[in-house]
């Protein structure tokens, strides 16, 4: 961590990172479990998407430090992340495929 890079909130400590990894592991286990629970039926897809999104956000926010650093990094990344579902949602829609 360089002295010159300004921080906007204090970074997590190692034990926080271990805790986050544990949480990620738990969510992954939940995802896999949900796949095998047939009674959930059509609710499986949205649940999985939410869990994947949570893992995604946790890694991006904490491991990649986006929560703790200059807003410009967040904004640059968000453009890409937001563009994908919009653009490809439209493409897949024209093929008659509704996602999620």
């Amino acid at each position: 961590m360089t002295v010159t890079t300004a921080q906007h909130r204090p970074y997590p400590r190692p034990r926080d990172y271990w805790l986050i990894a544990l949480i990620l592991g738990v969510i992954t286990a939940a995802e896999v479990t949900v796949t095998y629970l047939d009674f959930l039926d059509a609710a499986v897809a949205p649940m999985l998407l939410v869990m994947a999104a949570a893992k995604f956000a946790i890694v991006v926010g904490w491991f990649m430090h986006l929560r703790f650093e200059a807003p410009i990094y967040r904004r640059l990344f968000l453009i890409g992340i937001v563009a994908v579902p919009i653009l490809f949602g439209a493409v897949l829609f024209t093929f008659g495929i509704l996602i999620g």
């Binding site: 453009i79 653009l87 829609f93 024209t94 093929f95």
Partner: protein
């Protein structure tokens, strides 16, 4: 110590101004190549049942004319001006990553050479610049479309790397006091273009990869027989292809936004609106792509949606036009050559924009699609628009780059010949198209009513060629005995006119502190009660700025080496499986280049 001349100096330069010159010269060379391809097309079509080109040769001509003009002329010409002037306009000494900048150029050059190579080894790409599948994915034994797919992949890489560089430069290296809103409009448009490329090129990268795999590995991405869908290619191509046309025209719009105020002696009217319109065009440019697919069977919902978004995108463009007119209105106009080209841009781009709006009406487009009406539309916006805008920039900035002014009389001759030639060539195509002349067919029969206007168009194309010859004559003559320009020949408004012509290698002796938009203008002039410009005394113009020791990035041969490795790799990829060893060799060279680069400090003489 390396000298200032010689091949090695140019091969290893990391100076954004030299790299800009490299792009410029290369773009001009390819302009001639693409122009010759166009002239051959026009010769073939001058008369019915023409016999100048065979059908096969014709296919190569129209494919390469478009590919050359889009990827090897207009984009690099904009890159030339952006490379040279973006750092200076924002008060910086260079871009964020000078060696990466050099890499982009060399990858581009090798990409262009790679595409050109195809002519000499069995034929150039012949499936259209848009490479529609399955035409582009069949006949893998003929490698032309492999050259196309791999060539575009290489060129795309160069552009993405440039985009990362320019965006980072704009976000981090602006001079003190230069807020984003005080940045010149050309710098803003270059930034929007970089974002457009950043997000559109990855999409076509995957598409091109899929084309290559369909051709060489037998995958089924676009093969209906294999269960794939050719329409997917169209989506992927146009998701890139439409933002690409704004990539082509926004730099020209940026130039016009600099030239008009300078030659009207008035600030840009509605400057924030011009900037926000550029951003809006960037965003909305991603929302209209399927208007290229109105005849592909998307269905009424999709077609209606894209018709609407296409109509809407005319709005920010219109905002710009009105602001440009507002700039000229009441201004003290000097009709020098740069100004003529910018005024020509407005006139011609509006015509092209209007035909574009007619395309947005999906049912009308069904008749226009694949006819010469479309050819008319895009040449008005790309030639009348982008090319005229770029020439405006060339005449405007030539004195800054070379220290000499291009001759005015010859410049005006160039302008009028090009203007007349352009209209002679492309105006009749509206008529030809609505009368049913289809695109991409190498000849037409007699008695269809197409003869006269095709002949007129051919005459027009040779007029354009003559105008280009006039330009080269002007450039040559200026090099021999041109008028010395001085720092500020146009009484300019932006920072580049505050330094010498040509600029010193470090750009600014002292990094300027910026207090407003058009900062340089405000250092020269203040305004009286009625808004007239009053020159300030010289002492009032001096600004202490920020003195500091100047470290310039050292030259490096790793960029050109890495790019050469990439060239070798793609040649190998065309000729699989025996080419695999060539790919390996190329990869070694590239990795050596990248590794050496990572070990090399940016500035050789490093004092703390």
């Amino acid at each position: 110590m390396t000298g200032n001349r010689g091949l090695w100096h140019w091969l290893t330069t990391t100076d954004h101004k030299k790299i800009g010159k490299l792009y410029g010269v290369t773009a001009l060379a390819f302009f001639v190549v693409g122009g010759v391809e166009a002239l051959l097309i026009r010769l073939q079509l001058a008369t019915p049942n023409g016999e100048i080109l065979s059908a096969d040769a014709y296919n190569q001509m129209f494919t390469m004319h478009a590919t050359t003009m889009v990827f090897l002329v207009v984009m690099p010409a904009a890159a030339a001006l952006t490379n040279y002037f973006l750092p200076i306009l924002i008060g910086a000494r260079d871009v964020a990553f000078p060696r990466l900048n050099a890499l982009s150029y060399w990858i581009f050059l090798f990409g262009g050479l790679f595409l050109t190579l195809s002519f000499f080894v069995g034929g150039a790409p012949d499936g259209g610049w848009f490479g529609y599948a399955p035409l582009s994915t069949q006949v893998p034994e003929v490698v032309r479309m492999d050259y196309w797919a791999l060539g575009l992949l290489v060129l795309g890489l160069a552009s993405v790397l440039s985009s990362v560089n320019f965006i980072t430069t704009v976000l981090t290296l602006r001079a003190p006091g230069m807020t984003l809103m005080r940045m010149p409009v050309f710098a803003w448009m270059a930034t929007v273009v970089s974002f457009l490329l950043l997000f559109s090129l990855p999409i076509i990268t995957i598409g091109l990869l899929q084309v290559y795999l369909d051709r060489n590995l037998g995958t089924a991405f676009f093969s209906a027989a294999g269960g794939g869908d050719p329409i997917l290619w169209q989506h992927l191509f146009w998701l890139f292809g439409h933002p690409e046309v704004y990539v082509l025209v926004l730099p020209a719009m940026g130039i016009v936004s600099e030239v008009l105020p300078t030659f009207s002696r008035k600030p840009l009217f509605g400057r924030p609106f011009v900037i926000f319109s550029g951003i809006a065009i960037g965003f909305m440019g991603f929302g209209v792509w399927a208007h290229h697919m109105f005849t592909a069977g998307l269905g009424p919902v999709a077609e209606a949606a894209f018709a609407l978004t296409t109509m809407f995108i005319a709005v920010p463009t219109g905002v710009k036009i009105f602001n440009w007119l507002g700039t000229i209105w009441g201004g003290s106009l000097r009709l020098k050559t740069p100004m003529l080209f910018s005024l020509g841009f407005i006139f011609l781009f509006v015509i092209g924009g209007l035909s574009g709006v007619t395309h947005s009406i999906a049912p009308a487009d069904s008749q226009q699609h694949d006819t010469y009406y479309v050819v008319a539309h895009f040449h008005y916006v790309l030639f009348g628009g982008a090319v005229f805008g770029l020439f405006s920039g060339v005449y405007y900035w030539w004195p800054k780059v070379t220290g000499k002014l291009l001759n005015e009389r010859i410049g005006k001759l160039h302008f009028w010949l090009m203007f007349i030639g352009m209209n002679l060539t492309f105006a009749p195509m509206h008529i030809l198209g609505l009368n049913g002349m289809p695109r991409r067919t190498y000849r037409y029969a007699e008695g269809l009513g197409l003869d006269l206007w095709n002949l007129v168009a051919t005459v027009g194309s040779f007029t354009i060629a003559a105008s280009v010859a006039v330009f080269f004559w002007n450039a040559y003559r200026t090099a021999k005995r041109g008028e010395v320009a001085g720092n500020d020949p146009w009484d300019g408004r932006t920072l580049e006119w505050s330094i010498s012509s040509p600029p010193p290698e470090h750009n600014f002796d002292v990094v300027p502190v910026v207090h407003s938009e058009d900062d340089f203008w405000h250092r020269k002039y203040t305004e009286d009660a009625s808004g007239n410009a009053i020159p300030l005394a010289a002492s009032a113009q001096a600004d202490p700025g920020h003195p500091e020791t100047i470290h310039l990035p050292s030259p490096s041969y790793y960029p050109v080496l890495s790019a050469a490795g990439i060239f070798v790799m793609v040649v190998g990829l065309v000729y699989l499986p025996w080419g695999l060893s060539v790919v390996g060799g190329g990869a070694v060279v590239t990795l050596w280049g990248l590794f050496g680069w990572s070990m090399e400090p940016l500035t050789r003489e490093d004092h703390g």
